[in-house]
Chain length 246, copies 2
């Protein structure tokens, strides 16, 4: 209800009336800022809707904008020597390119939309300026960045400490949590999932088969965790790798 009121009140003041601005005001990244700082930031921020499979940025490019995913989802990926790997999926309300924006260094990853998505783009200079002038924003930024860091470290541990079968099992347990149900759809292509988990599509296909011994049922993209105890005993999830809230 406060949100609706705000939306209504600001509806007469030009740009700030736009729904996405109101929407963004509520995000953790901006919610602690005083109104005038927020308005300054929004003045140079552009929001754009993109169709599926649209390239947003290309690795090695100059870090012109901090990106904030407002709706849909965006894949971060990287290439080397003709190979490609999926690094992460960013969903609302996540940011990407934050570290590059702050350091004013080249992008390490490319990004493309997976589905129709709306993305806010804040000029990197403005991010750095606002970081210096607004303590609440600085606070939010460093928290977001620390979160990103910890996510990548966890991903790293996942890759180095586990076999592909174990990675898949733990991924499915995390998805179970996210969906809050033991039966759910993978809403990603399996080959993308394979790339994310660091394996080939063929190997993933066999890994799904392999997990049927441990309480999993797979039909197409429909996943059923038939025996949670079994799967958990096999996967041995750890908060220091699989908990994505801290």
């Amino acid at each position: 209800m406060p949100a609706e009121n705000l939306s209504f009140e600001t509806a007469k003041r030009g740009q700030l009336a736009e729904p996405h601005v109101v929407e963004m005001r509520g995000f953790e990244l901006f919610s602690g800022m005083p109104e005038d700082s927020f308005e300054t930031l929004m003045r140079t921020t552009h929001v754009q809707a993109f169709p599926p499979r649209t390239m947003l940025i290309t690795e090695a490019g100059p870090p012109d904008f901090l990106h904030v995913v407002l709706s849909g989802s965006v894949e971060l990926f990287s290439n080397w020597n003709g190979r490609e790997t999926s690094v992460a999926t960013v969903r609302p309300v996540g940011t990407f390119i934050l570290a590059a924006s702050i350091r004013n260094a080249p992008y390490l990853m490319s990004a493309r939309t997976l589905e129709e998505s709306r993305v806010a783009m804040i000029p990197s200079e403005e991010v750095r300026a606002m970081f210096d002038s607004d303590a609440a924003f600085a606070h939010a930024i460093v928290n977001e960045l620390a979160q990103c860091f910890r996510t990548v470290v966890k991903h790293n541990k996942d890759l180095k400490l586990r076999t592909s079968l174990e990675r898949l099992a733990n991924y499915l347990l995390r998805e179970m949590q996210r969906n809050d149900a033991t039966e759910f759809d993978l809403n990603t292509e399996k080959r993308r999932l394979a790339s994310f988990l660091g394996m080939t599509p063929e190997n993933l296909s066999r890994a799904f088969k392999g997990l049927e011994k441990h309480g999993l049922r797979v039909k197409g993209s429909r996943i059923t965790i038939a025996n949670l105890q079994d799967l958990t005993a096999f996967a041995k999830p750890s908060p220091l790798i699989d908990d994505f809230t801290t």
Copy 2:
């Protein structure tokens, strides 16, 4: 020379006279701070020397202190299900546990000294308080954190996009740069290097053999890059994975 002067001048003012405090003042992390902020921070900071192979922190523990390596080197590693992997080596003047300190979240990694090392420990609360009250420190912190993030992302790409042979080849090229010489010593146990590169010691041993076809000579821990062109052609280093300055 300015550093020596400072050292001499502050030699009469109690705690701040200690050499490590003078030393730390010069680090990028602190050099931009006004003197009083720095003094406040140093008041609760302790510096300690540790013998080799000393555990400094254990993963899952509470993030009491931000650690700064002043001399020696520290290994960050992690365990899961009876396995262990080496995640990074921190050298002067690097920090660790920064993200955990900021988010006040459990350590994701354990740390132990590799050699005799001096480590400064700043209470995490002080780090967070100083972040809020001193803009220059906030600036330095977020830059350091962004750097850490980018390093982990690069490591991730290295792992997922390359074979173990390619990872070793690129590692050696990076070491060549760090040593500024085509002949150098590995300053690390090979089994630790293997773990860092995500493979077994046996596999590393064979990988060294395998690189002899590409211009490498190995005698014990002595590495000679006999044919840089060959090795580079094989390794195909990329700034977006192997450049650790941005």
